[in-house]
């Protein structure tokens, strides 16, 4: 007999992984000083790309890879526009989100009836999976759940313990200083943007290939925007972002849990919860300007133009 609360935790980790992958990716490019509001669009296109690749090859891992590739490609286009053509980051990101929504709806129309070949089994970590409550709650997940956890640790190490991570942070704090030291600011920023896009892509593909296992127009349903809010919530620190993602995964799952328990609240009010929670969290975290200012990369959203 598996405890219901253990299942709720397990489901929250599963749902939180979607947000964690995307938000950790966005942390990379935001640490380098670039805001990419195109997360939602990249995730939508990647969700479609991953789904189609899985339908064609029958291999979910290839689907995740295709999603990552799609996200990286779109992010590269965004990066060129913003870094080399000096376009406004907000406007270009919005363009990417609007384009991604339109393009995925258009290109995905023939795939709405498709079904995926097989379910990916959860990965049972030996010994730990058999522990009484913790086993089913934490140690019987899809491998990507562990990948997200490892990624958060790896990113924390990268940013705070490696020289390359220090350079990325330096560029986010002061691109002028990094430029003067001889670092190729725009190329490093482009790499950060591409890495962020690739992770958003994997996250998008995770939704369609593993989470829902189908393709529906607009299925990302704002998770890209919530991931953007999570980077602020986690003050651009990978560990905090991961925890934030799990909290939001919990909020998402709460609605299904309450519905399952037959709580008499119209479903729309429950569906609203993650969006309201995002607003609440933004308000709470932004109320303290010093908290944000000490943690936010100083050049975030500001253009850098080496010649002038």
């Amino acid at each position: 007999m598996i405890d219901a609360s253990a299942l709720l935790v397990a489901a929250s980790l599963h749902a939180g992984t979607v947000l964690a992958l995307a938000a950790l990716g966005l942390v990379i490019n935001e640490r380098a000083g670039v805001v990419n509001l195109g997360a939602e669009g990249m995730m939508l296109v990647a969700a479609l790309a991953g789904f189609v690749a899985t339908v064609w090859t029958g291999e979910p891992w290839l689907g995740l890879f295709a999603g990552g590739l799609a996200g990286a490609l779109l992010a590269a286009g965004f990066g060129l526009l913003v870094l080399w053509l000096n376009a406004n980051q907000y406007a270009a990101g919005l363009a990417l989100s609007l384009f991604g929504a339109g393009f995925s709806a258009f290109a995905g129309a023939p795939f709405t009836q498709e079904r995926l070949p097989e379910r990916v089994d959860a990965f049972r970590i030996p010994v730990l999976a058999d522990l009484p409550w913790v086993g089913p709650a934490v140690f019987r997940q899809h491998p990507m759940v562990y990948v997200a956890m490892v990624l958060a640790i790896a990113l924390a190490w990268f940013f705070y313990r490696s020289r390359a991570g220090l350079v990325v942070r330096a560029i986010g704090e002061s691109p002028e200083a990094a430029h003067a030291l001889g670092y190729p600011v725009r190329r490093i920023r482009l790499l950060a943007v591409i890495a962020g896009g690739a992770l958003c892509g994997v996250s998008g593909a995770y939704i369609s290939v593993i989470y829902t296992q189908l393709w529906v127009e607009g299925m990302v349903a704002g998770k890209g925007w919530i991931a953007l809010a999570l980077t602020t919530f986690g003050t651009w620190r990978p560990g905090r972002v991961l925890i934030g993602a799990y909290l939001f995964g919990g909020v998402t799952m709460l609605q299904f849990y309450l519905q399952g328990r037959g709580v008499a609240i119209p479903s729309q009010w429950l569906t609203m919860l993650p969006y309201l929670a995002t607003i609440a969290v933004l308000v709470m975290i932004s109320r303290n300007p010093r908290w944000i200012r000490t943690n936010m990369p100083a050049s975030l959203g500001k253009p850098f133009w080496p010649e002038g």
Binding site: A95, G102, A105, A229, W269, S286, R287
Partner: protein
């Protein structure tokens, strides 16, 4: 482009942004979009000439087509005008879609109180309610930005999803038509509440002249009023605005209330006009598309009039392409996204110019080395 070996062209910052390029850039962007669109039709195995005909000729071929075009252009123009004011103040209200929905809900709420004896003048409170509904939804963004410094992009966007759920709740719950076979929709509003039509037999309605009037007022506000001037200074040079004593808080509120109100008005016109009832399909993406309209129209009232017409052509063209070429209707979204991308790329030439590199850099290095 990655500038290790000498590139053919180099971007050089202009001393002053080019006015001519600012006007030409949207035209270039449209040309690029058309070229990419034609390519897309070829990829899909459709005749590109016919595809472009559906997009650019069919929507303007006769009076009836123009009337249908106005149905799309009216909400786009209204929302984009509000956004022009908003973006010029450097306030990023991305949630006009949500304010549009709330406007439709508020207007629909008033429209449903009408009975058989209700006067035709109920249209006025309906539209006022729509405007207030949109303002109220934008006011939430303003309060949270003003009081808690919460990012207006994310808050306004989250409120789109919330508004969508509120609409879904109302039409499938308390406002559901009891005789509607359990469909999630309200009753059809009584005739007296409908926005007056301009031409018998066509759907073009009072909203069109209202939107054109709004464009004129927006022009006066932006370029002939002190408040409009203050807003723009605050958007272009926040430090200068502070120094001049212009209130950033007031600018924030003005920008959000105007853009929210305009989006709400558009939503009210839509609910009591072409729709005539509330359904989950009230949000048609006008709020998001209007962001593109505003940018392509250079955040200028006259420009938004022109760009709202072009964007409406994409809407109608997408519908026609679906029925006549068997291409998904979401083609519209692809064209809209491409247009904004192309515009942002072309806009580089407003602030920069392309310089041809005449000689390879190696000889000059040699000369320098010899000195």
């Amino acid at each position: 482009m990655f500038a290790r070996e000498p590139a053919m062209f180099r971007l050089e910052a202009r001393p002053v942004p080019s006015r001519r390029m600012a006007i030409l850039s949207p035209i270039f962007a449209l040309a690029i979009t058309v070229a990419l669109g034609a390519g897309l039709f070829v990829v899909l195995g459709k005749d590109p000439g016919r595809g472009l005909w559906l997009l650019f000729v069919e929507p303007v071929k006769d009076g009836y087509a123009l009337s249908e075009l106005s149905i799309k252009a009216t909400p786009l123009l209204l929302v984009a005008l509000g956004l022009s004011v908003c973006f010029r103040s450097n306030v990023w209200n991305i949630g006009t879609e949500g304010q549009f929905i709330m406007g439709a809900i508020a207007a629909g709420g008033v429209a449903m109180t009408a009975g058989p004896e209700t006067s035709r003048w109920i249209v006025v409170p309906i539209l006022l309610a729509g405007t207030l509904g949109g303002m109220l939804w934008a006011a939430i963004v303003a309060v949270l930005r003003d009081r808690a410094n919460a990012n207006e992009i994310l808050v306004s966007l989250m409120l789109v999803y919330v508004a969508d759920m509120v609409l879904g709740y109302l039409v499938s719950g308390p406002w559901k038509d009891p005789a509607g076979y359990n469909f999630p929709q309200t009753i059809t509003f009584v005739e007296a509440t409908r926005i007056p039509r301009l031409v018998a037999g066509q759907r073009v309605h009072l909203g069109l002249p209202l939107a054109v009037l709004a464009a004129a007022i927006a022009w006066l506000f932006l370029f002939r009023s002190y408040t409009g001037f203050q807003l723009q200074v605050g958007g272009l040079a926040p430090a200068a605005a502070r120094f001049a004593g212009f209130s950033a808080r007031q600018a924030l509120w003005t920008a959000l209330l105007i853009s929210g109100g305009m989006a709400g008005l558009a939503g009210g016109l839509e609910a009591a006009g072409p729709l005539g009832q509330l359904t989950p399909h009230v949000p048609a993406g006008y709020g998001f598309a209007a962001i593109i309209v505003a940018f392509v129209g250079r955040l200028h009232p006259l420009g938004t009039v022109l760009s709202s017409i072009v964007m409406s052509m994409f809407y109608i063209g997408g519908e026609l392409a679906q029925s006549r070429l068997g291409v998904p209707k979401s083609l519209t979204g692809v064209f809209q996204g491409l247009l904004l991308f192309a515009l942002l790329a072309c806009d580089t030439l407003v602030a920069h110019r392309l310089r041809l590199r005449r000689a390879p850099s190696a000889p000059s290095a040699h000369v320098r080395g010899a000195q």
